[in-house]
Symmetry: C2
């Protein structure tokens, strides 16, 4: 696959790549089923940033020219008719520069491009003067490191030998006790056999998939959705269907009709401060979801990871707290409140379900690290988690309000955003036709980062959406960063008004 | 499935269960493909210990009447002809007492019996006056808990905020630096891109499977083998073929012919102090394995977990240290030396391989807990790992020698055992016809526990083998425990000499 980029062109590099790949497909040089080089590899060859290629691929995916399969790679979509100019396909190049000859063939089919990965990389390597709204992780300045250090110290003094030795696969007993307490206060009565400690919600999702989802199964996921959930469930042979989540929240009518039309194996939901939209499912909505799940006999995986971060509005019971039939597998974690670096989360479900998940956990990594578990148990016992939660909510409330004020002040009138009742981010819809991916390129030059909405969609992508993670950003930077974004958007809108639409571009492609 | 046990019978309970299930199969009441109830469930129904049922199942598996599939359950083997007394099959009962009606059907196909699990459970819940040779885990009295506590304290003081925040998926940088040092001293030059931190060797195996092994693939495993590896690779659609490991070690002739006859995807080996046999592959053998892997283009997964525990004989380079072609994926962990409760291990392989494994790791649980990583890095930097290794080897050498002396003194002359050059256990072969599972029942009454060899075989089970884990047992208890086992064996042999063989039992079934 040979592409030629013109750095002096008005057309951004990612669109040059996109357009040329599209031509290769319509011209027949790339045939349905052909694999594209991994973005990292193509970026290296073209001498561009990996995000550039990832964005081109994301556009082509949104337009259904290509599709990515986690664990396999990115392929030209089936069912595309090559145009009349179809030519003989050139011999394919090897796409992986492996240092062992062997790996070239072995890895050939097992690679996937992960645009999220590029973003995470960006987030972790961002220059210190960058204002990053990318991640939804807790503000580390809140971490009571000294208190936690004393907890570590004391548990190591008291039970060091035991916790450093191999332990039970279902979790360290003292942490399980604390979690049962925490759950009780949330209206969930879980016995020890109904509770499994895992390495955070991501592992919770992964274990659920291992135990319940097999090739040929259908899973209903929110769309847009937490990218880690998409990555987990979209495996070969598994059909993922999106339940639309708009600014108004989960579409219950579509959910009902999807449940009626498909024999779904699982329904994965985030009723509380959904990631990325920040929407909350009403009490009535929760009851209806439970009824539907019971009627269609589909278990619900409830991702409750933002549950502790209600910043305004009335507390609502989780699906698990309302669950009378044992329909709900409830996932949660410490990670949005504190210490995501420790990787500790938990699953609540009926005992036979937990037993199967525990066996899968044991086969995966025996058990979760016990120093982290014991220290977190001590941290809870001393009331430090409660006081941290209090401080976190206060801080994030301030930041949410700062972000909303800045959005109102700086963003163009045509932009809309969800007013979340909690969580860590605001979901913004730009005026139709604007592309958040393109905005990111320009914003990056001004040292402001955020997550384009496309990373959260696995179908029906809305390229004009974006997520602003506010929790980790101080109010002054929130104001500054949003001012930069608003300025860029307003300039773009002015430009668009002056320009005529280019007739060569199909209407569905974002104008820049 | 209805079984009736007679507690007053001379026949042990597990044999009553085994025989009655056999009769149900030969009589046609259980047909090929029928699922047996999980051992836990059947044990509950019959009011016996779960191990009793697990042992009956293990015997039936060894005799090919039934077969267990991890993640699915235990089934009557295909290809068994019902006898002439074939009768109509009774309606099947539900085998899972779920508290949600839904789970009964959902979990129906996704359950597996795990006899190892029963053993682990036994090991963890054994009374304090029990002498347990079950596990191969480090002696916790060696753990320098206070030193480690100070390491935790200092890293939390120095870099607490950072290590408690979400981090890179390939590992905490300071630990990676230390590990590269450790590896250099082992003759392995690994760049940061060739090294991935994981949650112990079990996760290493699991990630390798995820990335490289797909339905339809063939994997070569040692037989007998670490049960966690069997559990990992024996998944639906994957063909596992055993490379025999005898008291003389890995059979290289069979390995060569298996490689010639099968298009193997991976070869999983433990050249150093193989678990469970304790055998070591010679330098010549290692070179030959590498040549074979290169010739047949099969990558090797080298499980090096016991590598630091050479107790006698000359140091040998690992396969990775000899690997010039990038053929080897090298797995290791801190867990056999210290602190398995922390769950920290690592993988060394060529950079593109590590990159794919890293992506799988990220999809599994984002990254390994960073407090454990940072504290272990500090522990290494202060030279504490080196001095611990020294003390561990001295202690285990004493225990190994005590065990060998006790075996020579107490075990019947017909028993044989491997003299390991390192590791944590001794592999014993009882006189042919004796069954280590039966010995375990009797030994348990005398408060001595060990692991029957059958848990390590996935084919061609030798029921007369057993593994004695000596590392965690003080010398006086080693002597005592082995004396008990030897006494039971000698009594059994005397009994056998007095008794005539029972004509109703096929010869391959162990006499008790």
């Amino acid at each position: 696959m040979h592409l030629t980029l013109d750095p002096n062109s008005q057309l951004p590099l990612y669109r040059q790549i996109r357009d040329q790949i599209r031509q290769l497909i319509t011209g027949g040089a790339l045939a349905p089923g052909d694999r594209l080089p991994p973005s990292r590899e193509l970026a290296r060859r073209l001498g561009v940033h990996r995000t550039t290629v990832a964005n081109a691929y994301a556009e082509l995916t949104a337009e259904n020219w290509i599709s990515g399969h986690v664990g396999r790679g990115t392929f030209v979509s089936k069912g595309i008719e090559p145009g009349p100019a179809s030519v003989a396909k050139p011999a394919r190049e090897s796409t992986i520069a492996a240092d062992g000859y062997l790996w070239t063939t072995l890895l050939d089919e097992s690679h996937a491009d992960d645009p999220l990965d590029v973003l995470i990389h960006d987030a972790l390597t961002a220059a210190p003067d960058t204002i990053s709204f990318i991640t939804a992780r807790p503000a580390e300045e809140l971490f009571p490191v000294d208190d936690f250090r004393r907890c570590c110290n004391d548990v190591l003094k008291r039970e060091g030998q035991r916790l450093l030795q191999l332990g039970p696969s279902d979790g360290y007993p003292s942490l399980k006790e604390c979690l049962r307490d925490v759950l009780r206060r949330q209206g969930i009565a879980a016995s020890a056999r109904e509770l499994l400690v895992v390495n955070g919600c991501q592992q919770g999702l992964d274990l659920v998939r291992r135990v319940f989802v097999h090739p040929g199964d259908t899973v209903l996921l929110e769309n847009p959705c937490y990218p880690g959930a998409i990555q987990t469930f979209r495996t070969p042979g598994v059909k993922c269907i999106g339940v639309p989540v708009s600014e108004q929240g989960l579409n219950l009518e579509v959910l009902e009709s999807l449940l009626g039309q498909n024999r779904a194996r699982l329904l994965v939901l985030t009723p509380e401060f959904q990631n990325p939209t920040g929407t909350t499912l009403s009490l009535e909505g929760r009851r209806r979801v439970l009824e539907l799940a019971a009627r269609y006999q589909v278990p619900i995986v409830e991702d409750h990871i933002y549950g502790a971060l209600r910043l305004r509005g009335r507390e609502l019971p989780s699906l698990k707290a309302l669950d009378r039939r044992g329909l709900v597998i409830h996932l949660n974690s410490f990670s949005k409140l504190c210490f995501p670096g420790l990787r500790v989360g938990w699953i609540v479900a009926s005992a036979p379900v937990i037993e199967r998940l525990r066996m899968a956990k044991q086969a995966t990594d025996l058990h979760t690290g016990q120093l982290a578990q014991a220290a977190l148990a001590e941290f809870c016992r001393r009331g430090l988690l409660d006081s941290l939660s209090e401080r976190a909510r206060t801080l994030y409330r301030t930041r949410l309000e700062a972000a909303e004020k800045a959005l109102a002040r700086h963003f163009p009138a045509e932009a809309r955003w969800v007013r979340p009742e909690g969580g860590m981010s605001i979901w913004v819809s730009l005026p139709e036709g604007l592309d958040a991916g393109v905005l990111l390129f320009k914003a990056r030059e001004r040292k402001v980062l955020f997550t384009p909405g496309r990373f959260f969609y696995f179908q029906a992508v809305r390229p004009n959406t974006l997520r602003l993670g506010f929790a980790g950003v101080p109010p002054r930077q929130i104001e500054q960063g949003i001012a930069v974004l608003g300025g860029l958007l307003k300039a773009e809108l002015r430009q668009r008004r002056r320009e005529k639409p280019q007739p060569t571009e199909p209407a569905r492609v974002a104008l820049v």
